[in-house]
Symmetry: C2
Subunit: 354 residues, 2 copies
């Protein structure tokens, strides 16, 4: 309870008398106990407010060392459904708690960074979930300096030995995707990956190469291309792959969003999926099953990653142990309709009905 | 500045002496002024913390009547990109301010509702942006009771006379969509709408009917169908439309997400877009241009709606006037490749190249 004005306020007994309730009831209202009738609570709160009292839950929490808020911090603009899926997982994990999530990204604005540091100084946050951070992250450094618990989802680079993280089994995912395409008879398999600097890209590509080598299929460097994780560049890079003298028969793509660009590039060339080209994505976003044809893809459990990271942060806030510093969640393959066995006889084609 | 412990802390002058800075500098750090060198700030903050002081920005804000936070409240689960687009707009509007947004939806959980009410009592929020609320909304009622400013984005039903809202020109959008299809020669135009209870559905449908009537095209009730706003039901309802004895040649759809289900239903029947059926959506979500074929759609400025609503809330918090209680943002048509002129000669078809 904060007393904002200098003038002397009524005592608890005086407020009780003025509102016709017991001192115990006033105390309950102040302490935000639930066993007060709504009408009574309202009357007492009103009297308290008139006396200049503010029922300052945040300030009381601070005295207890908890603000009841955690920050969600994305190392880039909040412009992708990828981040939204992780955020949904954070929300889910908080559903049964009284902790709320604040969107606090600073977008590399100096003033916002300063404001954020001030929030940390003020004890306004108990912990943070970071997306796409590495050990050089401004956020991580400031959080560590003040010993505020944090967990990184899908680290963008190397982390320090003490940095906790939750990611997906990217290497296994890349291997699985490639093995699946190999099992369908494909040998000329392209890898149209995302941002080359992102560890997930490197890991998936390593899994792809490993699977090819295990199957004694030589790795053709001309079949590996990089783009950012968005649809436009993927569209351009796919057009480059389609300009090769000998086309691939299948393509493993960095994420589902990129697959929309791949579909487009194929349609522009009059090529159909999966008849002329098998396409295999990564993420399994909600829309993947509704692309036409439905996208075969590696499921990256983004929602679960957000949920697990948040639960780790909550444990750290509560001073409970976490079991492991690095969590990797599994990445199963979801087979739909965008991959098909390699056609053996060139030019043979069943005409569609109708 | 809050003094959490009972023991007597050092004075400002003592802290200045202990850290080797002037009293003015200590004061600047306490008041979180920006004109202090980072290293100095850190040293002074550390000394203050050791003395049990907490630089309690939140508490100070409360004394000024501001917490620096607004709530984002969605009247359903945060499971749609629609809500995410609005949230992005909220974030954008806050970018140049020191206000942050909290995801505070209660998901109709009793306990969470109670916690939320406590946050309101505690003065933890200055205002709120509500998505899909009407005048019976639990959120709106509680906010009004405490005179906390709020603005509703895309009201889900009737609002009270004092409720501020931001929505899109849904009637004009429905009319424009239908006029466009009429201009392409279509006469048998289906309306596969979203949730029938949502005012936006009623308004768009009224615009559709108005355009047909203006063009002397009779409204065929069998061509109007409803679904929720998601892809699955749209897929089913489109299949129903395709079971009609006489097919429509064009369909105006409730939103872009539903169009993915429409595309699927058409593909399953061996029908191509726009050759066999023109498809026109609503929203212009980021992925609409990357559907294949690229979706012609009515642009609903969701991001801008979130931005405008947030700016209104900020004005209300600052006790500045807002110009109007109901804001409606324009809904232009974005022509892409999913609509084509009606084919006059049945069976005539240009074969695609390649």
């Amino acid at each position: 309870m904060t007393q904002p004005s200098a003038k002397s306020p009524m005592t608890m007994a005086q407020i009780a008398a003025a509102t016709g309730v017991s001192v115990a009831t006033v105390s309950k209202v102040i302490n935000q106990r639930s066993d007060v009738a709504p009408a009574t609570r309202e009357r007492v709160e009103k009297a308290l407010a008139e006396q200049g009292y503010i029922l300052n839950r945040a300030a009381r929490s601070l005295r207890q060392g908890h603000s009841g808020q955690i920050d969600f911090l994305v190392g880039q603009e909040l412009n992708s459904y990828y981040a939204f899926e992780i955020l949904r997982g954070v929300e889910e994990a908080l559903l049964t708690t009284d902790v709320r999530v604040v969107l606090a990204s600073t977008h590399a604005h100096r003033e916002r960074e300063q404001q954020w540091r001030q929030r940390l100084s003020a004890g306004a946050i108990d912990g943070a979930v970071l997306v796409l951070a590495d050990k050089r992250s401004f956020y991580l450094q400031e959080l560590h300096r003040r010993s505020i618990p944090s967990v990184v989802v899908d680290p963008f680079g190397e982390l320090g030995p003490q940095d906790l993280s939750v990611s997906a089994t990217n290497w296994a995912g890349g291997k699985l995707a490639t093995e699946y395409l190999l099992s369908l008879g494909h040998r000329r398999i392209a890898a149209l990956m995302g941002e080359p600097a992102h560890p997930c890209t490197q890991d998936r590509l390593a899994g792809y190469r490993h699977a090819l080598q295990m199957a004694d299929v030589p790795v053709d460097p001309s079949l590996t291309r990089f783009a950012d994780f968005h649809v436009e560049q993927a569209h351009q890079e796919m057009a480059q792959l389609l300009a090769l003298p000998e086309l691939p028969t299948a393509v493993f793509v960095g994420n589902d969003e990129q697959c929309m660009g791949v579909y487009r590039a194929l349609a522009e060339r009059g090529l159909t999926v999966p008849h002329d080209m098998s396409v295999l994505g990564f993420d399994d976003m909600p829309y993947a099953q509704w692309m036409t044809p439905a996208l075969t893809t590696i499921h990256q459990p983004l929602l679960e990653m957000g949920r697990v990271a948040t639960k780790m942060v909550l444990r750290l806030i509560a001073d409970e142990p976490v079991e492991t510093v690095r969590v990797e969640l599994a990445t199963p393959l979801v087979a739909r309709l965008s991959c098909a066995p390699r056609r053996r006889r060139k030019g043979f084609r069943i005409l569609p009905a109708g």
